[in-house]
């Protein structure tokens, strides 16, 4: 009961999607549209689950006065503020001038942008370790990254400024790397991922792959 019904549901929904591709007519197209909305609603509930779980764990931390409980209290306050303001604003909650928009622009966006900007320092540190030309492959990585970077900034004007204006040497090499070598590598990776996804999807639909159901 705990495992068999989910397996039947998985196979039914998966096969419905496959049939819809091969027979894109009524009733299968309507079934696909319905299932798409169902998926969207259930996925929204799954994200709600994560958000509510964060709230639950933070409440536990505060109530038991665990280490750094004050920061859990900050999480609860900011969680409730954003959620309550957003829900109370109505369907147009993201429109310019709303309180939600103010919070988004003045608190959420600066925090989000700074958090990702900080990665620049860690990327610099990682690139030092990855780009040391220890062997030929690492040298290729280094040369490709350097050429792509230099072709996308003003290096052409600085290094080759004495050449005619339309001679963009670094840009041409960078374009060649991006449009030819990079395309070839990306395609090999994409085809590999596609074949892996197809085989994994088949295993899931046929009930061979069951790890998503957990162990109990």
């Amino acid at each position: 009961m705990r495992r068999e019904i989910p397996l039947i549901i998985t196979a039914t929904v998966g096969i419905a999607y496959i049939i819809q591709y091969f027979i894109p007519h009524t009733p299968f197209d309507k079934v696909e549209a319905l299932f798409s909305d169902w998926l969207s609603i259930i996925a929204a509930c799954a994200i709600w689950l994560g958000a509510l779980n964060l709230l639950k764990l933070s409440f536990i931390n505060v109530s038991k006065r665990k280490k750094d409980w004050f920061f859990s209290l900050v999480i609860i306050m900011s969680w409730l503020t954003m959620a309550m303001v957003g829900i109370s604003e109505g369907p147009g909650f993201q429109e310019p001038g709303t309180k939600f928009d103010w919070l988004y622009n003045n608190v959420y966006t600066p925090l989000s942008a700074t958090m990702f900007a900080m990665l620049a320092f860690y990327v610099a540190s990682a690139s030092y370790r990855a780009f040391r030309a220890r062997n030929f492959q690492a040298t290729l990585l280094l040369v490709a990254a350097f050429l792509v970077l230099s072709g996308r900034v003003l290096f052409d004007e600085i290094v080759f400024g004495f050449l005619p204006a339309d001679w963009k040497i670094l840009s041409t090499i960078s374009d060649f790397i991006m449009q030819v070598l990079n395309t070839a590598g990306q395609r090999a990776i994409l085809i590999g991922i596609a074949l892996g996804t197809v085989s994994t999807s088949l295993r899931i639909i046929l009930g061979i792959e069951r790890s998503y159901l957990g162990s109990d």
């Binding site: 998966g14 909305d37 409730l80 290729l140 990079n182 070839a184 998503y212």
Partner: protein
């Protein structure tokens, strides 16, 4: 003080709080991080409430229920199933009956598997292979046979330089001539320049050198991913060439990632200096 000015000061305070982590982990950073975590969760909670649950569930289900009370059946009543499954998903918060959330989870997993099986096969496998296998020589009607011959010889020469250079790199270690790494790098750079020139040349010419290089890269890259046969001999050589293409791809992606992160960092510093401190116009 207007709300804009308060907003700028709050944004500056939190920006510096996150940046303070560069020194070391500290309460100011933890405070800013906690606000970020809480706001992110609250943001998605409110967004999904209006954009998914209200727009897709309530807007369809509520009129269907009203119709039912008036004695009419509306197919949107089927959204009841989504509502029940959504509630079942939230039951994961109650551990004794948390297993019920497997039912909605299986709808998501099954739907995603069915959708991806077709989409990935069509878009990422079939179409990518179709774009890779292209004609190598495509002469326009207007070009004469003498010009055609010259073009072919020119491109073959460029391509020969490429092949010889790659051969030196690939097989140099297996011969008595053990080339040092700088020499290999030199040959590779010659090959790279030859490729660039050849590509530039073939852009306006009938020989599709670009397509040929892409085909080689995809072919060798896929051989590298084929683990059912040992990578030795010709197979191993092709797999090695595949790793070169993959390394260039990773290098290019890494370069772009560095640029995007730097761009964000410049944006934050620009905010601090221009909008907050106003020391730069």
């Amino acid at each position: 003080m207007g709300s804009d000015l308060i907003g700028v000061w709050i944004a500056a305070f939190l920006t510096l709080g996150i940046m303070s982590f560069l020194y070391k982990d500290n309460p100011w950073y933890k405070f800013s991080e906690a606000i970020f975590v809480g706001l992110s969760a609250g943001y998605w909670f409110a967004s999904l409430f209006w954009q998914s649950l209200h727009a897709k569930f309530w807007a369809n289900w509520s009129p269907a229920v009203q119709s039912l009370f008036q004695g009419q059946f509306d197919y949107n009543l089927l959204y009841t199933g989504a509502g029940i499954l959504g509630l079942m998903m939230l039951l994961r918060l109650i551990p004794p009956i948390g297993w019920i959330s497997r039912w909605p989870l299986s709808v998501v997993v099954g739907g995603t598997a069915g959708l991806y099986l077709i989409n990935y096969l069509v878009s990422n496998a079939v179409r990518q292979i179709g774009s890779t296998i292209q004609p190598v020589v495509t002469f326009p009607e207007s070009i004469g046979w003498i010009n055609s011959g010259g073009v072919i010889i020119g491109n073959v020469l460029v391509f020969a330089v490429l092949i010889v250079s790659l051969g030196f790199i690939l097989f140099g270690r297996n011969t008595t001539i053990d080339l040092p790494t700088p020499t290999k790098l030199f040959f590779f750079l010659i090959a790279l320049v030859a490729c660039a020139l050849g590509t530039f040349y073939s852009l306006s010419m009938p020989l599709n050198l670009t397509g040929l290089i892409i085909f080689m890269g995809v072919f060798c890259g896929l051989i590298y991913f084929f683990f059912s046969k040992e990578h030795t001999g010709f197979f191993g050589g092709a797999a090695t060439v595949g790793t070169w293409f993959l390394m260039v791809t990773f290098g290019a992606s890494f370069g772009y990632t560095v640029m995007s992160r730097m761009s964000l960092l410049i944006g934050r510093i620009d905010f601090l200096l221009v909008e907050w401190l106003k020391v730069v116009n």
